[in-house]
């Protein structure tokens, strides 16, 4: 049983919790090999290694190294014997994919040419295995190019791809398979392998893991328990900054409402750092971090302010009301200008914005 990579979730604190749970339960499945996807480094190398050791996850990758030492971060291949056949399982990652981690202490990574890596490795693996199985985390097109270029791969499972293949595809001498994604499908290939390790025939069945497939009651119970844990975790994060400021009688109306009268200002501010504040958090995997959110959304500590659930999850980025206050209040009295000036330093403080100078910064958003 193999996985083509990207087992881990996105760079968000809650998804990191979910990934830990996923590693625990899939570890019990007894994977034979897991290829490395760029998502699998989202929480850093230390976290990945912790999951590997704790839950016996057989990750492998032949072309990701630390930029400094040039050492491979994972075993380049695995040898396993199943049904009397020795498999050499190799995994490669597309060098075009970006690896970003949530962990600031991680080393930089270097993804080397997968074709060169495979050409070097395959003769070596051949000495130990009859059949070579590639976990190609490169999507369909790059994988196809690779399989045409590199000889000696018997089977390939394609990852970093969003379409399932109901049948195998033969690319060069390789039987290529794909069953993706987000746990929606599971592929099964019944293979006849000859004494030289060559696939002589294959029958593929891709099953949609939908309501027609009965849930395992033990797993279902584990998931329900985990969901309760995740909710407690979410609330514990939220509790750090309770919504105690402002008034429950006022509402943040979002910039959409502001634009009905102030379209010219909105045009002026379009593309500013304020308007990408939440997106920038997401890029750093901090969009669930209350310490960061407080300055990257509207009214995080305010009643009726940002919440990570609808309807107030639309109050993302530093919209008008982040500086000017409740839209409902402004509609009535218009007394917000001085408050807006004072509001800058609540986020542009010594720690987060040491070079802040009101006059200089104001020029960037003058309106």
């Amino acid at each position: 049983m193999v996985d083509g990579g990207d087992l881990f979730g996105r760079r968000q604190t809650n998804e990191k919790e979910q990934t830990k749970f996923l590693c625990e339960v899939t570890g019990s499945f007894g994977w034979d090999a897991i290829g490395l996807g760029e998502y699998d480094l989202n929480y850093g190398l230390t976290f990945l290694r912790e999951m590997i050791e704790t839950y016996n996850l057989p990750f492998t990758c032949a072309n990701v190294r630390t930029a400094e030492t040039k050492e491979l971060i994972l075993p380049p291949y695995l040898i396993i014997e199943r049904g009397g056949v020795r498999f050499g399982i190799i995994s490669v990652l597309d060098p075009g994919l970006t690896i970003e981690t949530m962990s600031p202490n991680d080393p930089a990574f270097e993804v080397t040419d997968p074709i060169a890596a495979l050409r070097t490795l395959i003769p070596q693996v051949r000495q130990e295995a009859e059949t070579i199985l590639l976990l190609s985390h490169m999507g369909d097109q790059a994988s196809e190019t690779l399989l045409k270029e590199v000889e000696g791969i018997d089977i390939a499972v394609i990852g970093h791809y969003y379409r399932k293949w109901d049948q195998e595809r033969v690319i060069g001498d390789t039987v290529a398979l794909s069953a993706v994604y987000e746990g929606r499908y599971m592929g099964r290939a019944d293979l006849d392998i000859d004494s030289d390790g060559v696939v002589q025939s294959v029958e593929v069945e891709v099953t949609a893991l939908d309501d027609k497939v009965a849930d395992d009651p033990v797993m279902l119970e584990k998931i329900e328990q985990f969901k309760k844990h995740l909710e407690e975790f979410r609330l514990s994060l939220r509790a750090k900054y309770p919504q105690v400021k402002g008034s429950e009688h006022e509402q943040f109306l979002t910039e959409r409402s502001c634009r009905t009268c102030h379209q010219d200002i909105w045009e002026l501010l379009k593309g500013s750092a304020h308007q990408a504040a939440f997106t920038s958090l997401g890029k750093k995997g901090q969009s669930y971090n209350p310490d960061c959110l407080v300055c990257h959304v509207v009214g995080y500590q305010y009643k009726n302010g940002y919440d990570d659930r609808p309807p107030n999850n639309r109050l993302v980025n530093v919209q008008c009301e982040a500086c000017h206050g409740y839209g409902t209040l402004h509609r009535r009295n218009g007394k917000w200008k001085q408050e807006a000036v004072e509001s800058c330093v609540t986020c542009h403080d010594e720690e987060n914005s040491p070079n802040f100078d009101y006059a200089t910064y104001w020029e960037k958003i003058k309106h």
Binding site: R10, L135, V157, G159, H160, L191, D192, S195
Partner: protein, 64 residues
């Protein structure tokens, strides 16, 4: 009988028929050998079931 075999036409026909029989026999033997060899090869094939998946992306339930 001897007279019949001395007949040039019938004699050639019989010869051709005998040659055909020999060819058929040899060919049949070859087919049987091939089938036997193929069957013995297939006997050595190993049946493996590969379960595969990718890009779970941290999901424990479908989004919708």
């Amino acid at each position: 009988m001897a007279k019949f075999l001395r007949n040039r036409v019938w004699g050639r026909t019989l010869l051709l028929a005998l040659m055909g029989l020999v060819i058929l026999l040899l060919t049949n033997l070859d087919f049987r050998e091939r089938i036997r060899l193929a069957q013995s090869g297939a006997d050595q094939w190993k049946q493996i079931t590969l379960i595969y998946h990718s890009d779970c992306k941290g999901k424990i339930e479908p989004c919708g």
